[in-house]
Amino acid sequence: MRAALFVTCVNDALYPRTGIAVVRLLERLGVHVDFPAAQSCCGQPQYNTGYRHESEPLMRRTAEAFAGHTHVVTPSASCAAMIREHYPRIGRRARDEGRGPELARLADDLAPRVYELTEFLIDVLGVVDVGAYFPHTVTYHPSCHGLRILGLGDRPRRLLAAVKGLDLVELPGAEECCGFGGTFAVKNPDVSAAMGTDKIRSAASTGAEVLCGADNSCLAHLDGMLRRRDVPPRALHLAEILAATEEDPLR
């Protein structure tokens, strides 16, 4: 099995540990990982803020970078959602506005080949127990795009529950948005902070040591709030937990 890693711009620049964890995890499971260097950002920030035209070149770049790959894996639910749900939509709009049909074709071609990490593990590789070891109490926040656009369902929780030593505790109000929302955090700072505060309060109420998620952008917002208050839990990407083993624990 071969898979191309779409690491995403946020992970590349700020959370390389997540990308490294995905590589370790997939290689441990016998997957040959490619990293097409021409990849960049999926264009989600531009698109969601109302700059669809700016997102189009990035969409083209992403589609071209992964043109030859049957399986594209990404440790970001919202970027996977951008490609799967919004690329075809952007492509159609571009075609309707007379800017050539090839963007629509590129988008439609890429969308079904993109998998969020937990989908790839469970749906493609058919594994739930990935052989991980993580002796900590963990609570899981399902980010909105994973939950509602991708429909990840209980995949992340099933993977976590199979981790040796891991004690999974339910997050109260798990399905509520954390308040990040891309530029929302900057455009509506008061509401964003109020939502984030409620979320970290729920997380703290579980007594968990780790707040786990599948989107580093939501985690950056929550972790930033936790660290500002200097309180537990600490935020950690799912991939890092799944990559940890007894021989090679999380550092």
């Binding site: 191309a4 990982v33 109302g50 070149p57 399905e175 509520e176 109020a194 950056a220």
Partner: protein, 493 residues
């Protein structure tokens, strides 16, 4: 659409009051969480919910596509049944029509059934200016009216008020509008409801003219449908001699049978009831029973312009159930008043900027009053993809583009204040579209990781005001990969 509260600031500023008002937030949190849990249970009872949702969407889309035809059919049916149809292009015209109709009866007061359309056009204020008193008869509307307040929720306009606040409003205000509150009124819900009942009963029995909206209008029969929980609506629809209904043109459905869908989806979505307590249907006039004169005012007020927009028109499917408000985490914190419209919450964020345009500060900020979390889309009984419309309207605000205004296709310019953002988005795209440059940028960031400031200047301040910045790593993923794996899989461009 008129009636933007005067000097209404942009959403982020308006929301600040709500966010920092502890009482308001507690009231809202309690109310919305209770109703959203109940709704989920009521919906789960129906095995064919998804199909009902699809059917509702399909009926609405079909009707909107052939709206001209169905409206003419409706006019014919209503007229044949003894009613009179009036067409109003905008709020002013609708207000003029209703005022003239009331004055023609010689009356100086009307009772009102809760209606979004009449609030949208500011009818009560227009009537007042003509010397006509309009009495709201829905309990929550009564609380808002007595409290000189604005509604903050589609279904529960006084959702932001708790019992103690309501008792105080009744005690101090009821007397100046009619029967005073009973002595020693407490804040028990039953006591409050009884006080309202006594106060309103006088009005019902005296009123000669009623003003209502409608949830649905059936084209084939000319039947108007009102769903409500308190029975006040039925009093208004049956006791007075003259009934004037102001209804948005998107409320029409083709056949009586179509109601089958909505009478299941609307109550469950809005009040979490299997069936709402009162469903009143009236068709024209009948001698000796109910109003002897019936006027239907069909309101456009920006709706046909909205219909011209391929993405945005789905907002017109809305059946005003308010489920999207009750699940919205932004509404829950900001409160309904922050949306500067009678339509708050997610539906308000896409409806107001379409009906009113994006020229005002508040309307230009509404498409951004969402994290795009999608909870609203998930619960909407007519499957309005609110996040899709929000992004579409953001594009209109940030970049300008073609819109239809009063039937004419025009190109609008971007809203003010987006120049710096546009430049930043473009610069980011240019950088991200050149992996070489991106890599250099990442190296700079890594090298600066010890100089990390605690507070950022400019828009970044909003982030660092309440959060730490992520710690930049010593090495980007890209550099790690090259160091570890060499050029395997690298395709430089």
């Amino acid at each position: 659409m008129t009636a933007i509260p005067l000097g209404m600031p942009a959403f982020p500023t308006a929301a600040r009051d709500g966010v920092h008002d502890e009482v308001l937030r507690a009231n809202l949190r309690h109310a919305t969480h209770t109703i959203r849990d109940k709704r989920a249970r009521a919906v789960a009872e129906l095995a064919d919910w998804d199909r009902l949702r699809e059917a509702g969407k399909a009926v609405k889309d079909h009707t909107l596509r052939h709206l001209d035809r169905y409206l003419l059919e409706l006019e014919e049916s209503v007229t044949a049944a003894g009613g009179t149809v009036h067409w109003a292009a905008d709020a002013d015209e609708a207000n003029r029509i209703v005022t003239a109709l009331v004055l023609a009866t010689g009356e100086r007061e009307v009772v009102k059934v809760k209606s979004m359309a009449t609030q949208e056009i500011g009818l009560n204020e227009a009537l007042e200016a003509a010397g006509i008193a309009a009495y709201e008869t829905d309990l929550a509307e009564l609380i808002v009216q007595l409290g000189h307040d604005r509604p903050s929720h589609i279904l529960v306009p006084a959702i932001h008020r708790n019992r103690a606040e309501i008792r105080d409003i009744f005690r101090t205000e009821m007397a100046s509008w009619g029967r005073p509150a009973p002595d020693g009124l407490g804040d028990d819900p039953r006591e409050l409801a009884e006080a309202a009942r006594l106060h309103l009963r006088e009005k019902f029995l005296r009123a000669k003219v009623a003003v209502s909206g409608a949830n649905f209008m059936v084209a084939e029969t000319g039947t108007m449908v009102v769903l409500e929980s308190e029975g006040n609506g039925r009093m208004c629809l049956t006791l007075p001699d003259t009934l004037i209904s102001v209804v948005g043109i998107e409320k029409v459905v083709p056949t009586f049978r179509d109601l089958e869908i909505f009478l299941q989806t609307l109550p469950r979505s809005s009040t979490a009831e299997r069936m709402n307590p009162y469903t009143t249907m009236w068709t024209g006039t009948t001698d000796g029973d109910g109003p002897t004169a019936f006027h239907l005012v069909l309101l456009d007020n920006g709706r046909t312009d909205t219909l011209a927009d391929a993405v945005g028109r789905q907002a017109l499917r809305c059946i005003r159930c308010s489920a999207c408000l009750n699940v919205c985490p932004v509404y829950e914190r900001a409160g309904g008043h922050a949306y500067g419209s009678v339509y708050p919450g997610p539906i308000g964020a896409i409806l107001s900027p379409q009906l009113r345009g994006t020229a005002s500060e508040i309307d230009a900020s509404l498409p951004y009053a969402s994290t795009l979390c999608g909870a609203c889309y998930e619960v909407c009984p007519v499957a309005i993809d609110i996040p899709e419309v929000l992004v579409h309207l953001r594009e209109r605000v940030a970049q300008g583009g073609p819109v239809t205004r009063e039937g004419i296709r025009v190109r609008i310019r971007p809203a003010r204040g987006h120049t710096a953002e546009r430049a930043a988005m473009r610069a980011a795209r240019l950088l991200l579209d050149r992996p070489g440059a991106l890599r250099a940028g990442e190296r700079l960031l890594s090298r600066a990781h010890r100089l990390r400031p605690r507070r950022l200047p400019g828009p970044g301040r909003a982030w660092t005001d309440s959060r730490e910045l992520p710690r930049p790593p010593a090495e980007s993923f890209r550099d790690w990969w090259t160091r570890e794996r060499g050029d395997r899989g690298e395709e430089h461009r």
